[in-house]
């Protein structure tokens, strides 16, 4: 396991990665973290500061200056702002005299150059020389290299007695099978499931559990990044987030401090989730949305089904990321304009990518599966937040046009079949196949609702014609959460919520809107969802995407 951790540490970048995991480790070691890395503020060489006692030694202030990977001659001293020597000098010249909190001024100071890898031989002499020259009775140096960090992480997070049986083996399998993402994800899900269902006796243990989940997710992410396949971490980050929320909501009744700490711990997992999502999109999707058929072709399959499914999945992920960015702008960032602007410009880039993705990958004009209503709803939501109603109208009109054509010509029309092997034969030449493969639909009533929300009466009429012409047998319906949803939505223990059915297309567009959105008033289970109450509502959307549940219409009111 130590090898696994060392590999993971060596692959971490400085910003948002190594410096994100270190505070958790220090907290777990019993130190109090005084400061964490922040962007845009002067640090005077210190990335993380903590105070406390390690290994039964007297209490001291620990000042960490973090560098990613191995310490090379260049990292040590290349006259740049980021060189370690410069950072250490800043600590000695500026941080210790000027910024050390007054209550800790009397304590001994340990300066810790920290890096994920090792110190290369070429700089060993210079680093030792520097440490010797600048050590005195008050200030000492201690190297925190990959080996030491790995040992600490293993001892404090992943020790056999701290984990349920099989956890190590599940972690190793998840890492070994990264090139078969669904299998890797299956093992990782089991691991998360084991970790999250453990009975916790104290708040400390609960915090510890969050840190364990975050660490495991980080290890998986860093390994996958090195392997060049982020599929397993993407899926795993969703289940980690949902399981963490399940844990998070259990602290609702405890003390304020505990709640704050747990919220921070959940925030760390959310941050890892965001990092994985954005990495996935930045690496795989965004550079290629402009290319005609680029991502369709990248599926590398001669099955239309693979292309269709994968593209809708990608669209859903991209839209969900947009929604998170919108949430970050609305809910998290309140004052810092530069950060807010950063999120807004990222969101605007993502919205353009949705536009390009749809335009250049025509498979997105008609899903093969009715349950891709999830992705369509997420995209609708993202585009609506961005005010891109024109694109929605164009996209959905084309979708209904193609559906009309596919039903009329027995082409590849949306079906409720989910089994992959069965879908390969779709549409099968079997008697009454249309009736059997389209007994119900959530996709078309949702599009009908969208048409009224964007005030496109023609689109509404087209859905009505489709229903009357080809889908008279099909029950139009939509799902709503109920009181049991809070218990089940994050872990999908059992079936929950209810369907509004049948939804008549004979009524006017306004009557349909009243019926579908009006039902939200009766579906009080939504307001009772802990993620909604805590204003972490995108967590619900992650659950919808992950467990294939229609997006609650409450989001569209």
């Amino acid at each position: 396991m130590k090898l696994v951790i060392r590999e993971y540490l060596a692959s971490l970048r400085e910003r948002n990665e190594l410096d994100a995991i270190l505070p958790d480790l220090l907290s777990q070691l019993g130190l109090s973290v005084l400061s964490k890395p922040t962007i845009g503020t002067r640090q005077d060489g210190v990335d993380v500061a903590a105070v406390g006692s390690l290994d039964a030694r007297p209490e001291a202030v620990y000042l960490f200056s973090i560098k990613a990977g191995d310490l090379t001659r260049q990292d040590w001293d290349d006259n740049s702002m980021q060189s370690l020597r410069r950072s250490l000098n800043e600590i000695l010249d500026s941080y210790i005299p000027n910024r050390l909190p007054i209550e800790h001024k009397s304590k001994k100071i340990v300066i810790c150059p920290c890096f994920g890898g090792t110190v290369q031989e070429a700089v060993r002499g210079q680093l030792s020389g520097f440490e010797k020259t600048n050590s005195n009775s008050r200030v000492s140096f201690e190297e925190w290299h990959g080996e030491k960090l790995a040992a600490l992480i293993e001892a404090n997070f992943l020790r056999e007695e701290l984990l349920p049986p099989d956890t190590h083996s599940l972690m190793r399998k998840a890492l070994a099978l990264l090139d078969e993402p669904d299998v890797s994800h299956k093992h990782f899900s089991k691991l998360i499931h084991l970790l999250s269902k453990l009975q916790t006796k104290s708040d400390k243990e609960l915090l510890f559990r969050f840190r364990q989940i975050n660490l495991c997710l980080w290890i998986l992410f860093s390994w996958a990044r090195k392997e060049g396949n982020l599929e397993s971490p993407y899926l795993s980050s969703e289940i980690a987030l949902l399981s963490s929320w399940e844990l998070h909501k259990t602290v609702a009744g405890t003390t304020k401090k505990t709640r704050e700490n747990v919220t921070k711990a959940f925030g760390a997992i959310l941050s890892t989730y965001h990092q994985i999502c954005f990495s996935y999109l930045e690496k795989n999707i965004l550079p290629h949305t402009r290319k005609l058929h680029g991502l369709s072709n990248a599926v590398h399959s001669t099955q239309w089904l693979d292309v269709n499914q994968k593209l809708f999945e990608v669209l859903g992920r991209l839209s969900l990321a947009c929604i998170w960015l919108h949430w970050l702008c609305q809910e998290v960032v309140t004052s810092q304009d530069d950060i807010r602007n950063g999120f807004e410009s990222q969101m605007s880039k993502y919205i353009s990518s949705i536009d390009e993705l749809i335009a250049n990958n025509p498979a997105l004009f008609l899903p093969a599966r009715d349950d891709h209503v999830v992705e369509i709803a997420l995209t609708f939501l993202a585009l609506r937040f961005a005010g891109a109603c024109k694109l929605i109208s164009f996209w959905l009109r084309e979708m209904i046009g193609r559906a009309q054509f596919a039903y009329a010509t027995n082409g590849i029309y949306p079906t409720t079949i989910k089994d992959y092997a069965e879908l390969l034969d779709h549409p099968a030449q079997v008697e009454n196949y249309l009736q059997k493969s389209t007994p119900g639909s959530e996709l078309f009533p949702f599009i009908a609702l969208c048409s009224t929300l964007i005030e496109d009466e023609e689109l509404f009429s087209a859905v009505r014609t489709l229903k009357n012409t080809h889908l008279a047998h099909c029950d139009f319906q939509y799902w709503y959460p109920d009181e049991s949803s809070e218990e089940n939505i994050y872990q999908n223990w059992t079936s929950h919520g209810y369907e509004l059915s049948p939804i008549s297309m004979e009524q006017s567009s306004s009557e349909l809107t009243d019926e579908m959105l009006g039902e939200c008033d009766h579906s009080t289970g939504f307001q009772e969802l802990s993620a909604v109450r805590a204003r972490y509502w995108p967590v619900i959307l992650v659950a919808c995407r992950y467990y294939r549940l229609p997006v609650p219409l409450h989001f569209f009111r």
């Binding site: 795989n284 005609l292 680029g294 369709s296 590398h300 239309w304 004009f365 010509t409 082409g411 390969l424």
Partner: protein, 580 residues
Amino acid sequence: MDSLDKKIIRSQTEGRLAEFVSQEFLNRHADSDEFLRKLARLSNEGHIDLLGAFAKIENSIAFPNFFPAKILVEKVLPLLNSPIVAILRCLQRLRREAGQDLSASSVFPAFEEYCLKDPQRPSQAFDTIIASPADLSLFLQSTLRCGSRFAFEVFYKRAVGLCQDENIELRSQALSALGHLEYPEDPSILGATMDVLEEALLREPGEQELACIIDSIFHICRHENSLTARAETALEDSIRRDVDVSVHIFSRLFARYADEFSTQQIQFFLHHLRQVRPQSLVTLQQVDIGLGKLLRRGKLIPVITFLESVTNLTDGAISLNVFKMCTTSILDERLGVLNRVTTRWLTPGNYHLAKSLSEALLSSKTQELELTVVIEEVPKLDANSRIRLAESAVGFLFLSPVLAASFVLSLAKRTRSKQIQSQLASLLFDPLMISFPGSVAKFLKSRLKGSSASESLVAKDALCQQSDYESSLRSIGNLPEMHPNQLQIEIANRHFNTALSAAYEEAESRSPLLSAIKKSVILHGAHTVFQITDHEGNRHRSVTPLHLHSTEMEFPRYQFIDPVGIDHMLRRYRQNLVVT
């Protein structure tokens, strides 16, 4: 008497004469004539009852050599001196047992050859048939024809007399015989015969008689051109009485004589054959044979006009796909009609013909052909119709991409319009080159030199678009996150292999070659060795090297990146030809 004679006689005693001589006949390819003479001698000398033996055979699994036996009888017949009754009974049996087989009627020429050997035989046969019309009436026409050679007036009168007989079989045979007698060079007799046939037509004949009347009117007219107008009137009258029967007989005559027909006859027949019904498969087959003959004579226009007319009249229920021989002739490069019909049928109003032509092109081995527009076939080739023609070509010939591309490219000839050139290049690129990057690009590269400036320009533009497209795709590299998962890959492979094996098994079951030969599976090695025993019992070692066979398929890329979209696009292009 040699040993074979003895064997033949012994086989009769053992009650297996027909089996034995049929097998011997099969075994003696080289000296079959001598064998037949031996059989005739033994029969004529009374040693064996050859006809008696063959008058009992059945076309069944118990007698597998039925058809060789029938050939044997037909060949030996002229050499026999057997009584006419025995001859007729034996032939009647063979005719009946042959059922619907095409060779069933070959007993009649054999019978005629027998009759012509002796002037008495037609009279004897006539009497025998009249005495027993229920079984033997089928031989009346042959009898009357042979008799007319020896005694025209006698047999002509007999034929005319029987045209009003109470027995419908005799009546029909007599009506039919009137068209096939050995007439003397006297137009008045043919005129009188025409009178008889016209009268018969007025008597409201049944289907069988009507068929015989039509056949005879046609053949009388072949003897005497001056009767053409009367014949045409009578034939048109026959159509009014029963379209289906008339059209069927017309088709038979058309199939048989199309290579001799005058322009007027071609026009007359094709005009009436348009009334053929889609369900009349045999009639359609006959029409097909005739059309093929006309095409080989270079009579393209009447054939095309007929096909267009019959397709429109039946709303596509009858189209090119029904006429296999005609299609083969159209696709025959040597006849040089393919470009003309392709151009013509890719214009509005010819949806069904374009569809069946494209299907024929796809299923034929003409994939390496190239098509060229024939400007003369398009009355008004302005910018708009040029693009619509190109779209129609793409719509119908999409699955034969090189054919489609060559046709589209040829539309660039004789145009300097940048807009048309650009639209043609765009069509070549999307959907053809996007779907079939290999074959279409290869074709276009081959046309960069040696073509007209405009064609080269369009080809270059399309190739440039493809190059940009492909390099954009290549720039993505490998994104494992986008790949389907391992389980899905395995399911899809299994699905594909199952479909492929089913198709392979079906193809095997339909293969005439594989149904006739024994299949042998070789487990190891690069060649096989087997022993052959020759006629003299010597064994020879034969070595057969094993070869690796493979085939390539280019699946259109659009089929998996946008199946509904490409289907919609192609249908839209094909709808260009639907006249609303």
